[in-house]
């Protein structure tokens, strides 16, 4: 019983983590058809930024709430800068090229940013421990849940709801939906696709940085944290359906829960359960759970 409960809650927490790192990626892919490897760098920059700024904040002994707010602000600032630089400075040059070539451009950007991190913050690791303490704990029988984890799940949920609401009910969201559905059509409707791209990419970057910022308190912020995240996010997005926010949400839940189950019941398979799930989904629904395959017009 307790195990079952543990599986569900652990799954939720891991799913929240996955969704936070995947949502930006899937948004960018949906709108721009770019599989953005540099997303890992956004995550890493977000983590470093938060670890330093928020760390300083807490050391001042100022109220915790502000610290959490600062996390989000840092993430947004970093996303804004990195997003603009990459999109305006680099991606703009390769729009319309082979999809894979664009992927490789983001891969190159990722390689460079990895070392930029090293040049800015040095090779040593940073820790942002205060928020976990500040968030407290909730006891459920033998199981102690971290308040911070609960916060993460809530944040992920809010993001998911917020995103789907924004896509449906705001003017910008509708524009995006049109672009996602059919770029040519969107252009024909006189939508400024270039602007949509820039803004989407910046938002995606912000979300990636946010993922890093909110994970920073739980991990040691050190070189190479981006690499792991990329392939995880890819898996989630591929499972949910490239470009579908709802899909990323379900994909994250699916992976999170199956991993939690594996850890509790069958630790041997934990290492590749994610990829097993991914392979299965792709085999039975090539286009992922949440996107329809484009019908071929002839």
């Amino acid at each position: 019983m307790l195990t079952a409960f543990a599986i569900v809650t652990d799954g939720l927490v891991y799913a929240a983590y996955l969704f936070l790192v995947a949502v930006g990626l899937t948004l960018i892919f949906g709108v721009m058809r770019i599989l953005n490897v540099a997303h890992g760098s956004f995550y890493a920059f977000g983590a470093y930024g938060a670890a330093i700024a928020v760390g300083v904040y807490f050391d001042r002994g100022w109220p915790a709430a502000g610290g959490f707010l600062l996390m989000v602000l840092v993430a947004m600032a970093i996303g804004l800068v990195l997003g603009l630089v990459l999109e305006r400075g680099l991606l703009r040059l390769v729009y319309g090229k082979d999809e894979i070539v664009v992927v490789l451009v983001t891969y190159a950007a990722f390689l460079i940013l990895e070392d930029v991190i090293r040049l800015i913050w040095g090779p040593n690791s940073y820790a942002l421990y205060q928020p976990l303490g500040a968030a407290g704990t909730v006891d459920v029988g033998a199981l102690v849940l971290s308040g911070y984890d609960i916060g993460l799940v809530a944040l992920a949920g809010l993001l998911a709801i917020g995103a789907s609401f924004a896509l449906k009910h705001t003017r910008w969201g509708r524009l995006l939906t049109v672009v996602i559905f059919d770029r040519e059509l969107a252009a024909a409707f006189g939508i400024n696709v270039t602007l949509v791209y820039t803004i989407t990419f910046v938002i995606g970057a912000m979300l990636g940085a946010l993922g890093g910022a909110v994970m920073a308190p739980k991990i040691a912020v050190t070189l190479g944290i981006g690499v792991e995240v990329i392939v995880l996010a890819f898996a989630v997005v591929a499972i949910g359906g490239m470009g579908s926010v709802g899909g990323a949400f379900i994909g994250a839940l699916l992976v999170g829960e199956s991993r939690a189950a594996a850890v509790h019941l069958l630790p041997q398979v934990e290492l590749f359960v994610i990829y097993a799930v991914m392979a299965l989904v792709l085999v039975f629904r090539p286009q992922g759970l949440f996107t329809r395959a484009q019908p071929r017009k002839i």
Binding site: L35, L90, L93, V94, K97, E99, I100, V101, V103, L104, V105, Y107, A108, A109, F110, L111, I112, E114, D115, V116, R118, L119, V227, V231, F234, A235, A238, M242, Q268, V269, L271, F272, Y275, A276, M278, A279, L282, V283, P286, Q287, G288, R296, I298
Partner: protein, 318 residues
């Protein structure tokens, strides 16, 4: 034209083989690895021509390598030719099996599925502690028809063998590119429907390409295993596949030659980067990749083509 280029190519291989003894040993071993990787890249070029980019080609690369390592370890068989043949056969079989699934996919879905497959192999290898888990295990130096070279000769022998395999593959693949099936790669990207209505099974065609590419990757893996005398699960990790894609883009899908030019260029770049920027060599590689994509969109391989102006070549000739 075609015949001439093949003669030239083979001549090139002969000359490189002849000058090998003059090269310093570190360069010989570096070149052996470069040749082995070039075979994997050659396979990726075959697929890329048809618009397919596997993020999991390391699957077949690792199978080839582990085949060699396991056979030497458990049977004591050490003959290079037999070992490489075994690696080729096993990766070929793996590619035939994987192909039944992969051949049905296109674009990013193809890439992701192949990624998933290679990562599952990675997981399995890491879990098998009898094979040293992530540490991997060593491979005995090979013999050649019972002849066991020593010292410098050991490197040269393997280098020549690798060269021979590369020459053979280069020849066969450029013939394949000139064949009907081989020249349908671009048409696959343009209109699968037309191909189907010309009576071609696109999936089978792609399956064939996958098997060829997989086998080449297997041979490459086998050669690397013999060359560095060690195998480990990272050979199947997604970053390894990423590296091969990196080289493919660097090389460009222009031709068979591109694979070799690109692979050598890459090893060369890396060796320099490690040497002059030990702490920040990734910036170096990343920038190199960017420059290639932005200023040589058809890859380093296209440089030669640019140098001499040509009237439009007919499709598929390589």
């Amino acid at each position: 034209m075609a015949r001439r280029s093949i003669v030239f190519g083979l001549l090139a291989f002969v000359i490189v083989a002849a000058m090998a003894p003059a090269l310093p040993t570190w360069l010989v071993s570096l070149a052996t690895v470069a040749l082995a990787n070039a075979l994997v890249v050659l396979g990726l070029i075959i697929l890329w021509r048809a618009g397919l980019v596997p993020f999991g080609q390391a699957l077949f690369y690792a199978i080839g390598a582990y085949a060699v390592a396991l056979i030497t370890r458990y049977t004591g068989m050490r003959d290079a030719l037999i070992l490489i043949a075994a690696g080729a056969v096993l990766s070929c079989l793996a590619a035939i099996l994987a192909g039944f699934l992969l051949a049905r996919y296109r674009e990013i879905f193809f890439s992701m599925l192949s990624l998933a497959m290679s990562m599952i192999l990675y997981g399995v290898l890491v879990k098998t502690e009898t094979l040293g888990s992530t540490d991997g295990f060593g491979v005995e130096p090979p013999t050649y028809f019972g002849y066991a070279p020593q010292g410098h000769m050991r490197l040269l022998a393997l280098f020549w063998l690798a060269l021979a395999f590369c020459a053979a593959s280069a020849l066969l693949i450029s013939l394949y590119f000139r064949s009907v099936a081989g020249s349908l790669a671009v048409p696959i990207r343009d209109s699968e429907i037309r191909l189907e209505f010309l009576g071609v099974s696109v999936n089978r065609l792609i399956h064939l390409n996958l098997v060829v590419a997989g086998t080449l990757a297997g041979i490459g893996g086998a050669l690397v295993a013999l060359s560095i005398e060690h195998v480990d699960p990272n050979m199947s990790y997604w970053t390894t596949s990423g590296g091969f894609v990196f080289v493919t883009i660097l090389a460009g899908a222009g031709s068979v030659a591109a694979a070799f030019v690109g692979s050598f260029a890459f090893e060369f770049l890396k060796s320099i980067a490690y040497d002059i920027l030990p702490g920040t060599w990734q910036i170096f590689l990343g920038t190199a990749l960017l420059i290639t994509i932005l200023f040589l969109p058809e890859g380093i391989g296209s440089l030669y083509g640019r140098l001499r102006r040509r009237k439009p070549q007919s499709m598929g000739a390589s």
